[in-house]
Symmetry: C2
Subunit: 335 residues, 2 copies
Amino acid sequence: MNVAIVGASGAVGQELLKVLDDVNFPVSTLRLFGSARSAGKSYTFRGKEVKVELLSHESDFSGVDFAFVSAGAGTSKEYAEVITRHGTVMIDNSSAFRMDSDVPLVVPEVNGDDAFNAPRGIIANPNCTTIQMVVTLEPIQKLSPIRRVHVATYQAASGAGAVAMDELMEQFKSISAGEEPKVEKFYYQLAANLIPQVDVFMENGYTKEEMKMFNETRKIMHSDEIAVSATCVRVPVLRAHSEAIWVETERPLSVEEVREAFEKAPGVVVKDSPADKEYPMPLFLSGEDPVYVGRLRKDLANPNAITFWSVSDQIRKGAALNAVQIALYMIEGKK
Amino acid sequence: MNVAIVGASGAVGQELLKVLDDVNFPVSTLRLFGSARSAGKSYTFRGKEVKVELLSHESDFSGVDFAFVSAGAGTSKEYAEVITRHGTVMIDNSSAFRMDSDVPLVVPEVNGDDAFNAPRGIIANPNCTTIQMVVTLEPIQKLSPIRRVHVATYQAASGAGAVAMDELMEQFKSISAGEEPKVEKFYYQLAANLIPQVDVFMENGYTKEEMKMFNETRKIMHSDEIAVSATCVRVPVLRAHSEAIWVETERPLSVEEVREAFEKAPGVVVKDSPADKEYPMPLFLSGEDPVYVGRLRKDLANPNAITFWSVSDQIRKGAALNAVQIALYMIEGKK
């Protein structure tokens, strides 16, 4: 396959390079694209140096089978025509097209087949918090239809890119030295703090990030019966996101049947042994592929609900890995 | 009033010294008690040096009106008889007596009058996460009976004492220097991590901390109709706790009426202006007295519920301040 990465120098772009290699993606040629800031830089892939080309309206994607695009919604919108013009499948990591009715929004473990219905040649990669959540909701939905989801997120700095991770580390250094930390990437100091705002606010008092969890979940799971109320919070963690989730289903489910469903579910790993103090934690699961779940128990406030805790690397499954898995699903022709 | 502080050298003991002064508590004499480790140390209160006495079975509390006890459940149990023998009111910060039927569990804004019904001379100060939550639940309960509460906590290191706060700061230094952080007070490294376990696990898969939020809330609010499902998580923040809360009431409440109730509620401060990126954050509210609420909005998953975010200093309202407020309530004879 001829592959392109657009936004090669970003946190997700860099992870895409790793993931393509890790999953043994069949790469015949690889092209890297970036802005003027990163054009000319070189990255090594499978022992070969690849130079970043400047993305422009004159860029020629002919012959490229898959373009993984992760350079922000503005870039995705501006260059979608350029990228898809000659039949390239554009797998877009931004929010630009996610809710467009003619663009499938895909998490392979949940709705991989939707990838085959992409009339514009664009497939959208969902938001990281949604990907992580739907991978765990799907096995529950198969047991009994989901009605209500309450979720509180604990989102790492990585969601705001490599620069944000660097800023958090710099803030740790500053507060350790008793100095005033530099605050640029986030609205407020994140080290030793929590910021209960991820993305901008909407009219209903929810943030865009929180509404993504509502809307994207419905689209991916093909259900307008599922209502999600999310509170999204940025926490001083480097790169894995965590979520406390309560799920109400049509019929009451036992902890045992949900555990069994999780254990069989693709992409899910159960890490749940309270007696051994074993549960998922972001520090120890950075760089890992699966969505880890633990703290599984009945919802004490709702007989029809269960609750659990999940952790997943925001840059792997929450972005780069899911994008590559979409392409793999299409290559393998699963339908 | 003649006042004693038991556990004077701990994080809460030290804060008690500050709070007694801050609220102009009428102190005639002050005695400090501690273990062999802290006995002999001196602390300044209103310009006078007070020496820490060794707490023993021979300690004489006669003449002491209020003893604020914050030295762990074991010490509280062992010395309750010694402390209350001569009529001293023991306001206990530990979990030792909280669920005893003959010990009132008091948050003055909610059930201050319960303090007058303490046959054993012991009044229990609730757990910090519960105090912070019930202060916000009470004004809602007055509008319509509460049925279900879902809450995810983001708990600071301070909940585990002064040593834990020091350990977190040391961990920030270690990771900044690229060194292996020392882990002693918590089960795992807390800096740049989240630990989804506070206190030990119970048979139902919940932690003791989470079950405190279920049981203590019912006792304080005099309602067995309220069911609380909590997920308690330790986060790398120094001293204020945060909570994402969903509350279902018998009749649906509007955001406006809940906001108005919060604005009138004692001990609650509304900090909720999304357009100005204004919401409560733990870094900026450490050392403050009120429970701050923000991010107030409808629960998108439940027409009968609303959701909000709260932050409160765990050592102030979550411990020392609430204890002192109980004593003040009794002195002022509010009934």
